[in-house]
Every structure is written in structure tokens, then in C-alpha cells.
Amino acid sequence: MRLAFILSEIGSGLRRNLSMVVSVILVTFVSLTFVGAAGMLQMQINQMKGYWYDKVQVAIFLCSEGSTAAGCAGGPVTAEQQQSLNSLLESPAVAQYINDFQYESKDEAYKHFKDQFSNSPIVDSVTPDQLPASFRINMKDPEKYQIISETFASQPGVETVIDQRQLLERLFSVMNGASLVAVSIAGVMIVCAILLIATTIRLSAFSRRRETGIMRLVGASKTVIQLPFILEGVIAAVIGAALASATLWAVAHFFLGEYMSQQYPDTAFISSGQTLILAPALIILGGSLAGISSLLTLRRYLRV
């Protein structure tokens, strides 16, 4: 009975205050979309980093069947060549610059590739044979990349030596900047949303002061009096958060998934499914912001 009563109170509150409720929904929608966009950019950065990015700095790719590089004139890397590279890496001259290194076989390379490009159509057309084996090196000082490069580039069986960080770091700094901008805009919008929710709840409490006055007099509990107002704000904010989540999903699905991945097939993009991880976070964030701000407002404007 009490639940039904509270629900009907919420319904009448939302109806009476419709324009304010719509504005709360829109403001939370926009602000949480920015929050989510920042989250998506970070997810995209992680996706592009792939398996090795955080573990190593330099990759020495070994010759495979189709290699056309000058050092690969002698065909694919042989077991002896690989062995001598391994002992070169362990020799004191080189070992002083590196923490450790790992060998990545063709099969392992294929496995990591599949993980990183799981959302891209390119994954189906690649076989383990096409991917080169490599040594992955964790440098003591990433700045010393030149030394490794000079030592190994001319070794037999080495296709190329790549400093992966250098390739991606500039792109990542742009993306980090963009997510910082998104977070700043989101911050301003969230302040806006909180104030708007507070105003809405205040108006709602004012327009129903007769009812709440009578409720106090006949001894309704604080919960029964306040809950409808708080839930009004929370429901509006949760609808806004759901819209924001849907927007992020649509961006990932249609823009990244269908347009960008066609344009840049060699880049790993996040899938639309991954953005759904953001949805509960946004809904909880929106709901709790609304709940807290309406609770604080009621403490000032609704005597119980």
C-alpha cells in the first residue's frame, strides 16, 4: 500500500513538473555522454596498446616467408640465426641496456593479434604464417633505443627493429588530451545538472507543500514524505544516463564499428559491446548524483 502510494506520488510529481523533468533528463544525458566519451577514449587507447605495449618498448621482428626487407634476402630466419640473436641479447654489451626480453613465436603473435583485432574484419584474413616471430625487449632506459636498433638491424634474419612507443605515443597524447577536454566539459555539465536537479526538487516540494504539510501532521514518516521527491530526481537522472549509454553504444557501433574500421582496417577499435561496460557506471553515477543533491535540497526546503 505504502509502495503504491509512493509510486503514485512520484507519478503525479513527474507529470506536474514535466518541463523541469525533461530538462533534468537532457542535462544529465549530455553531461554523462561526455563522461562516457572520456571513458571510451581511454578504452580505445588500451585497445590500441595491444598485448606488448605496457611490457616492452622495442620489438625485433624476424624474417618470415614474405619478407621483402634487405636483411631478409636469405629467406626466413633460421634456427641458428635465431640462436645467435638470442645469445647476442644475452651478451654483456647488450644486456646492460635491457631488463629482460621475450621471444614471441608466430603462433603467439597470431594469438595476440587475434585479441587486439577481434573487432576488425582483418582478423579473418590473417594466418599465423603471415605474422613474423619477434624478440620483445624491455629496456632499462627507453631512450637508448638507438643502440639496440644499430646493433640488430644489420644482423642476418632480422627484418626490422621498431620502437613501438614512438609510433603510438603521439596519437595517445592527442587522445588523452581529448579525454581531458571531455572530462572538463563533463565536470561543468555535472555541476549544471546538480543545480538543476536541486531547483527542480525545490519547485516540486514547493508545489506540493500542502500535501507534505498534511503528511507531517498526520504522522507520516520522513521516508514516506521525502522518498517521492528523491526518486523523482533519481528517475530523471537515470533516464538521462540510459540515453547517454545508448548514444555511446551507437557511436561505437555505427561510427567506429562500421565507418572507421572500414577506413582504417589496420587499427584496432573497441567494439560496441565494450561500451556497455560504461552503462552501469553512468547510471550509478547519474542516480547517485541526483539522489544526493535532492536529499541535500530537501533538508533545506522540506520540513519534516
Binding site: 500500500m1 505504502r2 502510494f5 500535501e211 498534511i214 507531517r216 501532521l217 498526520v218 504522522g219 507520516a220
Partner: protein, 259 residues
């Protein structure tokens, strides 16, 4: 049922207290009028009983409990034991008669079937059977006040506080309302009614507590609106030949309650 022990209430340090060392006891099942000019402390008395305000000093006991010791989350329980009626009815304009009365039960979580049984019964007590589906604006003032009384007593409170319930009504209608309050009192509810209406007080012949400037100056059983026996010093000066109080020009806030 209601006991005031040395209760003082000060709203503004510079002004005189709204209630000044009031000692008063109203027993269970009693019917008491609270009379006095505006600003004499009648409303403050009622507010203290409801714990809308806290006494500056002294103790207020309601149903044996010191209200100052009731924690804020138990105040609703205190208020469930007290019905309140106002001069301006305070009905919800968009709800019909039945819904207005039912509202008082809904908000404290009574089940729908209990509400369906109780509300018509109470409406019958106040003489409104058959008008369940009228809206407040379709009712006369007297009928609206009956709805308000029905709402105040529907949860069977032990105490009914009425703050000038006949203030907006004509004499005949007022007597009808008094009949209802008397009936509620007969059923065992303690009734405390603040009023300016001398005809009603004289007609009912109940206990009269007269307040002046926050002090109880008279407490008489089966009394009239004005005292038959001469009262102590300061107030005698204020009585005119007809026995009615004259507005005291020197006291702000006095006299405005005279109609």
C-alpha cells in the same frame, strides 16, 4: 494527557516570551477551550504539543511522554496520536472528500481494505455520508471543516487539537461543528480547542483556560468565555462593563483577533 510544567517559550530574546512559565494539565477525555486574544500564546501552546517547536525551558508531556526526549525519527509516531484541525481547513483541492480523508491513512501505510472500511464510517460520524465523491470546492465551509475533522480523527488519535475551527464559519454552522467535536470527545478523545468565539464557549460550558501575554490567567471548569468571578489584578483593568476584553492599545498584536 497533556501536561505543561513551567513551560516558557521565547521566539525573540528582546520581546516578551510567547508562553511564560505555564503550568497546565489536561486529563484524558477532557474538553478544554483555550481562549485569549491573538498573541496570547494559544497557537504556541498547540505547536509545543505537536513538537513543531521546542520549549525554551520547562517540560511538555504528551500521553505521559516528555516530548523533548522524543527523537526526531519518532516524532511521526507522536503526531499519529494527535489530530489537528485548522481555521482554514487545509484540504487538498484536487482530491475528493473520500480521497482527502483516505490520504491521512495512506501516508501512514494503512491497507486499502482498512481504508475502504474506515473512511465511510468516519464520514458518517461527521455527517457527510453520501458526499464522498464531492470535490472540496463543491462543499460549503461547514462541510469542508467536517472533512478536515474526519481527516484529523480517522486514525483514532487520543488527542484532537483544534485551532479556531469555527473561525471562518457562521454561528449556526459553528454549532454543528461543535456538536461533532463534542461527539468525538464523548468517544474518549481529549479535545483542546483554541477559539475566539464567545457564543460557542458560553454554549458548551466546558473547561476554559484563558491565556494573556503568555500567562494562564484563568482556568475554570464549566466556565464562560469571560470570567464570572473577578480575576487577579492586572486583568481586571481590561474588563469593560459587558465583561468583554477591550483591546489594549499599549500591547501590539492584541485586538486583531476580535471579529
Amino acid at each position: 494527557m497533556i501536561r505543561f510544567e513551567n513551560v516558557t517559550k521565547v521566539y525573540d530574546q528582546k520581546a516578551r516570551p510567547a508562553l511564560d512559565s505555564v503550568n497546565l494539565e489536561i486529563d484524558r477525555g477532557e474538553f478544554a477551550f483555550l481562549v485569549g486574544a491573538s498573541g496570547s500564546g494559544k497557537s504556541t501552546f498547540l505547536r509545543l504539543v505537536l513538537k513543531e517547536d521546542r520549549a525554551t525551558s520547562g517540560a511538555v508531556y504528551v500521553a505521559g511522554q516528555n516530548v523533548a526526549k522524543i527523537s526526531s525519527w519518532r516524532v511521526p509516531r507522536l503526531r499519529r496520536g494527535i489530530g489537528v484541525v485548522f481555521q482554514d481547513f487545509r484540504l487538498l483541492p484536487q482530491k475528493n472528500v473520500f480521497a482527502n480523508v483516505a490520504f491521512a491513512m495512506q501516508v501512514i501505510g494503512k491497507s486499502r481494505s482498512v481504508i475502504r472500511d474506515t473512511v465511510p464510517e468516519v464520514l458518517k460520524t461527521v455527517g457527510l455520508e453520501g458526499k464522498e465523491h464531492r470535490m472540496p470546492h463543491e462543499l460549503s465551509g461547514g462541510e469542508q471543516q467536517r472533512v478536515a475533522i474526519a481527516r484529523a480523527v480517522v486514525n483514532r488519535p487520543g488527542i484532537l487539537l483544534a485551532d479556531e475551527p469555527t473561525g471562518n464559519l457562521d454561528p449556526t454552522t459553528s454549532m454543528g461543528i461543535m456538536g461533532i467535536l463534542d461527539k468525538i470527545n464523548q468517544n474518549g478523545t481529549t479535545v483542546v480547542m483554541a477559539t475566539h468565539d464567545d457564543d460557542i464557549v458560553n454554549e458548551m460550558r466546558k473547561r476554559v483556560v484563558e491565556l494573556k501575554n503568555g500567562v494562564v490567567i484563568r482556568d475554570e471548569a464549566k466556565a464562560l468565555y469571560t470570567s464570572m468571578i473577578p480575576v487577579v489584578g492586572q486583568s481586571r483593568r481590561l474588563k469593560d462593563a459587558s465583561g468583554r476584553e477591550t483591546p489594549d492599545a499599549g500591547q501590539p498584536g492584541e485586538g486583531e483577533g476580535q471579529r
